[in-house]
């Protein structure tokens, strides 16, 4: 087993130290998404305190951790569904104060509208923006093609399989051309084959659109396969988490990467870290 370049970088980060310190190779690029000493309390209980990070445009960051670690809370704050009780969440230089079409969410259970056709689901953001019907149809067809759903534009979501429903969920977010795509364990309810196909799909879509993605998951494999970086969370009440930079061979959208020695090594490292 010989690996030419180091593929794993483990950086343990302590709370507050990082703040505005530029990270790794992001020195010259303005981050698209930034947390500045974010804290969140619920019912007087601190869920997280002093959490900071910065994400570059086009980056795919996997947020990994067991349930209850606060990973979905981070996603909900980026989406604007929750507001930080301390610090600030910043998208493209603007503090996040509520939900908006610049941050699209792919939900675990798809959350499609069963009363609308696939095309109407996909182009919902355009309908909200008052775009004309012809444009909505054109974008819906384009996005359906992007997620391999051509021919299903006039079907209803309940007529689709779980994997296809999530494809619609992806297309619906992409149609709004968001700055950041937020994915909340979107494939955790799917069977393995479908899940792996969709993971590769996500990487392909990222390559084609250059979209920044924050991907929340509890699966180590998923995080390693997808992420440019992984944030491994265990307990955020002191703002500390582990960060892994991943450098698997390009193109990333290649199922064979799951068998790459680096993949397996990284998986083991994270596994031990989680068990630790």
């Amino acid at each position: 087993m010989s690996i030419a370049a180091p593929v794993i970088t483990l950086v343990s980060r302590e709370g507050s130290e990082r703040g505005d310190k530029p990270m790794d190779s992001s020195a010259s690029v303005r981050p698209i998404l930034k947390f500045e000493q974010v804290g969140f309390q619920y019912d007087g209980r601190a869920i997280m305190r002093d959490v900071s990070f910065a994400i570059r445009p086009g980056e795919l960051v996997a947020v990994l951790g067991p349930s209850g670690c606060g990973k979905t809370t981070i996603l909900n704050m980026v989406a604007g569904f929750l507001q930080p009780t301390e610090g600030a969440a910043i998208i493209d230089g603007q503090e996040i104060t509520g939900p908006g079409p610049d941050r699209g969410v792919v939900f675990q259970a798809a959350a499609l509208y069963d009363w609308m056709t696939v095309a109407d689901n996909i182009s919902f953001s355009l309908r909200c923006a008052g775009r004309p019907k012809a444009e909505r149809r054109r974008v819906a067809e384009e996005m359906a093609a992007l997620v391999n759903l051509t021919g299903f534009e006039d079907a209803y979501p309940y007529q689709l399989s779980g994997g296809m429903r999530q494809r619609v969920g992806l297309a619906r977010v992409l149609a709004a051309k968001p700055k950041v795509m937020l994915m909340d364990e979107p494939f955790s309810a799917l069977d393995v084959q479908t899940r792996e196909a969709l993971q590769e799909e996500v990487l392909r879509i990222r390559d084609r659109t250059g979209c920044t993605i924050l991907f929340v998951t509890h699966s180590i494999d998923e995080a390693v396969f997808l992420g440019d970086r992984i944030f491994l969370l265990t307990d955020l009440t002191d703002g500390a988490y582990d960060e892994f930079a991943i450098d698997l061979p390009s193109p990333r959208a290649n199922g064979e990467n799951r068998l790459h020695p680096a993949f397996i090594r990284l998986r083991e490292t994270i596994y031990r870290k989680m068990r630790h």
Binding site: P101, A111, Y113, D114, Y158, A176
Partner: protein
């Protein structure tokens, strides 16, 4: 697979037709033996004769279509107005806490009162004319629809609302495209329940007075012991109920095509 399905459907239709025929048969047998006095339970044939007589010659000097039209107009107006207002306020109550708070105590005090108990009050306030009758039906439809629409609006999934927000939907758009469709299954059920109630209240309201309507026929016929006409009137109302319920159910299946298919 398909043949099994169509066989099940045929069995369903057969049973649905067989059950009223059985009732009719038992009814015929009971009355044929003379076991029951005709004034208590007339034979189906006698009821049918009275019914045909009403169709041909009207009742109490007024044509049957006029009676029928009067009843249907009362129910129709009250049902449409009550359902529209009830759905609007119910949906708002389901999504906006302040509006729910405004309506909570008044509606929960009025709701348990049997509408029939309000008849004396409505006579005092609105007289014995059309106004009292329509308002009485309107009130019961309104209350049922408000409760159903509110429950429907509450059943809307958090993720469905959040998805809309993060796709840039405004308050009205969320209401129109997410909350209303989510509530539709319960609204359609509410329509069926309240149509049944509306017909019940109709008969009671027509007992208030006046000389038109199916309720009037029933009351008038019973005070003259014309039991066959009482039965004819009752069956006519029942048939209206059956037809309207099937119509709403059919519409519901078309409109709420996604229900039970997720």
């Amino acid at each position: 697979m398909i043949s099994a399905k169509s066989q099940a459907k045929r069995r369903y239709v057969a049973l649905a037709i067989l059950s009223p025929l059985t009732i009719l048969l038992v009814w015929t047998l009971l009355t044929a033996k003379g076991a029951v006095a005709p004034i208590i339970l007339p034979s189906p044939a006698a009821v049918m004769a009275s019914f045909l007589d009403m169709v041909q010659r009207g009742y109490s000097g007024v044509g049957i279509w006029t009676h029928l039209g009067a009843s249907l107009a009362r129910v129709g107006i009250a049902f449409f107005a009550g359902a529209t207002l009830g759905v609007a306020i119910g949906l708002l109550r389901g999504r906006i806490a302040e509006i729910d708070a405004l309506f909570l105590v008044p509606s929960e005090i009025v709701r348990p009162i049997p509408p029939l108990g309000l008849i004396p009050l409505f006579i005092l306030w609105f007289g014995i004319g059309e106004m009292s009758k329509i308002l009485l039906i309107f009130l019961s439809v309104f209350l049922i629809m408000m409760v159903n629409a509110q429950a429907g609006a509450r059943s809307c999934a958090v993720d469905a609302l959040r998805a809309a927000q993060s796709m840039g939907a405004g308050r009205w758009q969320i209401f129109r495209f997410v909350v209303l469709p989510s509530a539709l299954p319960q609204i359609m059920t509410g329509l069926r329940v309240s149509m049944g109630t509306a017909l019940t209240i109709l008969v009671a309201a027509e007992l208030l007075g006046g000389d038109r309507g199916l309720g009037f026929i029933i009351l008038d016929a019973s005070s003259f012991f014309r039991t066959t006409y009482v039965f004819a009137g009752i069956i006519l109302i029942g048939l209206i109920g059956l037809v309207s319920d099937r119509t709403i159910a059919l519409l519901a299946r078309r409109i709420v095509h996604w229900e039970g298919r997720r």
